[in-house]
């Protein structure tokens, strides 16, 4: 059954049930009211009958008779019966031709008044007592008007109920269709999305309802898919391009060298050029291998505890050797009192590479301006915050920084392959950590590397 029909069905059942209960209560109240109103009428007529039969004053008797005749309408099937007090129930029943209930008779004797309904007949009785005689006065009648009124009410309620069911069905179906319309649109739209139009997104509303959340979730999934596709296609493009550049240079130099006979100095110069390009190719392939290794070797990593402050000092020492002009400053203020808080568990070599990439980038892209490194630790995380005054990353390019080979437009003149951040990102992910990059174009970049505290973490992410 379709959700649309299910919602309509449940809606109709619920409302119809409620309506049935309300209509039943209304009908029962009407029955009760009609019955008591007729008994009231019958009781009054019984009292008047009593007065007209047993009143001592003949003038009053005439008045009562006149009143009954002129002003009181006779009730349908109305009959009056007068029995001596000692008449038995059976005899009364035979006379009335009705099986009189025992309770009616006993109530009449003890309470001097009784009323009952037997089948369609209403009975009202009075026990008349005076000094000379005791009599039982019983009136019987049928409430044809009441029965008709109740029958009309029943018919009205029944048709109203049927009409409501039809209206509820139509309304329920209309609203269910309206509510689920976005779902139908989502299904239709998702069915049209292929690899060729992966950039298309589902329409979301400002509402925070489940359908809007579903559309947003689909959009997020499409974002991730599109990024993965882009990364894959860009990776092959960029890798081919980067590998081709040194090869083209090598081929070009050798081709020109072989055009004619050259002096040994010229050959040496050509060979030096070939060596430079070959070294570049070697570095590039090594980076590629490292990158692939982090993907494949997750299970075989050697894990050991290490102090991050000591590791940073070692990384800075290495950078000092390669680039003595760097101005990396390590801020030891707010250092945790407990040195255990600075200990992380992970692969020493990989974390070394990750920190080296970050500090090297900070120095490289800021033309050796001041770089501040700060370590902040608490019971849950250890953060390394690296703030530089470099060229920054343009806002529209920041989403691409974790793509291998991707290089922002403003740093194409700086030496590099676009491997540092993607590799660092992978290493951090491998150690259940994260990396956050905040940057403002032409102002600088703040890179925050966050490791979970070893007391919080149970195992390395797989």
């Amino acid at each position: 059954m379709k959700i649309k029909n299910k919602i309509t069905f449940i809606f109709v059942i619920l409302v119809a049930t409620m309506q049935l209960v309300i209509f039943t209560v209304i009908y029962l109240f009407a029955v009760d009211y009609t019955t008591s109103a007729f008994f009231d009428k019958l009781k009054k007529r019984t009292i008047i009958a009593e007065q007209s039969y047993f009143e001592k004053d003949t003038l009053n008797v005439e008045i009562y008779e006149d009143l009954r005749r002129k002003h009181l309408q006779t009730l349908p099937e109305e009959q009056e019966f007068i029995f001596p007090i000692n008449t038995e129930l059976k005899a009364i029943s035979e006379e009335l031709k009705i099986a009189l209930p025992e309770t009616f008779y006993s109530s009449l004797i003890t309470n001097n008044y009784a009323e009952a309904k037997v089948g369609k007949t209403f009975l009202s009785g009075i026990n008349y007592n005076d000094h000379t005689a005791n009599y039982l006065i019983i009136l019987t009648a049928q409430d044809h008007d009441g029965v008709n009124e109740l029958s009309n009410l029943r018919t009205l309620l029944f048709f109203l109920f049927l009409l409501n069911i039809i209206v509820l069905l139509l309304l329920g179906r209309f609203f269910a269709k309206r509510t689920l319309n976005p779902l139908t649109q989502i299904i239709e739209k998702v069915n049209t999305i292929r690899v060729t139009n992966l950039h298309e997104r589902l329409q979301t509303t400002h509402n925070r309802d489940e359908l809007s959340q579903l559309a947003s979730t689909f959009n997020d999934m499409l974002d991730r898919l599109e990024t993965s596709f882009d990364i894959q296609s860009n990776f092959i493009n960029n890798a081919s391009h980067e590998l081709k550049n040194p090869l083209t240079a090598i081929l070009g130099q050798t081709e020109i060298a072989l055009l004619k006979e050259r002096s040994p100095e010229e050959y040496i110069k050509v060979l030096e050029g070939v060596e430079t390009e070959a070294l570049r190719l070697d570095a590039l392939i090594n980076s590629l291998l490292k990158f692939a290794q982090t993907e494949n070797d997750e299970k075989g990593l050697l894990i050991s505890p290490m102090r991050l402050d000591e590791l940073i000092l070692e990384v800075k020492g290495n950078i000092d050797l390669i680039n003595p002009e760097n101005k990396i400053e390590i801020d030891f203020n707010d250092f945790p009192e407990n040195p255990d808080l600075l200990v992380v568990e992970g692969n020493y070599g990989l974390i070394n590479i990750a920190l080296n990439n970050i500090l090297d980038n900070a120095s490289k892209f800021s033309e050796n301006k001041k770089v501040i490194v700060k370590i902040v630790a608490n019971n849950s995380v250890i953060k390394i915050v690296v703030t530089d005054q470099g060229v920054g990353i343009p806002a529209d390019e920041i989403k691409n920084i974790y793509q291998p080979f991707y290089r922002a437009a403003n740093v194409r003149n700086v030496k590099g392959y676009g491997f540092g951040l993607p590799l660092t990102y992978k290493i951090m992910k491998l150690h259940s950590g994260t990396i956050e990059v905040f940057s403002e174009h032409k102002k600088g970049t703040i890179v925050t590397v966050i490791f979970p505290n070893k007391h919080q973490r149970t195992s390395i992410s797989k």
């Binding site: 509510t179 976005p182 400002h206 509402n207 801020d331 203020n333 902040v376 102002k443 703040i446």
Partner: protein
């Protein structure tokens, strides 16, 4: 040392502007004044200082103290101020009283205020602050303004399409 005014809407995201301030003044230490506008009712049971401590949620307070720690060498102090004035002159004296030298504001303004009495100061800052830097800022997905229940109901049943 510079005193830098940063508008806030007490969302965690708005604290990004502190990082912008850190990058904008690489050679100086900074004193930050985080400011929010508030329409003070005629009769209020809460003082300004009480409001300043009650309005931000715990996530905002935690992130603020984390950022202070992470950039401790640059940020000397952070003060949260509530602007309750209603005239341009009042805002000018607010800047003067707080000794504001510079301000950093988001290009698209702030939208995630904790209630309807709060309002953004970006327009006033742009008009009256001695120095202003506008920066890129994305408030994220939950920057929608508050809508009436009737609007949401209409939207639910697509009557507004």
């Amino acid at each position: 040392m510079k005193t830098v005014l940063i508008p806030t809407d007490f969302s965690e995201k708005s604290l990004q502007l502190i990082k912008n301030a850190v990058l904008h003044y690489p050679e100086e230490s900074i004193h930050l004044v985080l400011a929010i506008g508030y329409k003070m009712p005629l009769i209020s049971t809460l003082s300004k200082s009480k409001l300043v401590s009650n309005l931000p949620n715990d996530a905002f307070k935690t992130r603020l103290s984390e950022l202070r720690l992470e950039h401790g060498s640059k940020i000397t102090d952070v003060k949260i101020e509530m602007y309750t004035g209603e005239s341009n002159e009042a805002f000018k004296s607010f800047l003067k009283v707080n000794h504001i030298d510079d301000a950093i504001i988001p290009k698209m303004g702030l939208h995630q205020f904790p209630n309807k009495k709060c309002f953004g100061l970006c327009t006033l800052i742009r008009a009256y602050s001695p120095q202003v830097s506008s920066v890129d800022y994305q408030a994220g997905d939950d920057n929608e303004t508050m809508r009436s229940p009737i609007f949401n109901l209409k939207y639910q049943f697509n009557f507004n399409k």
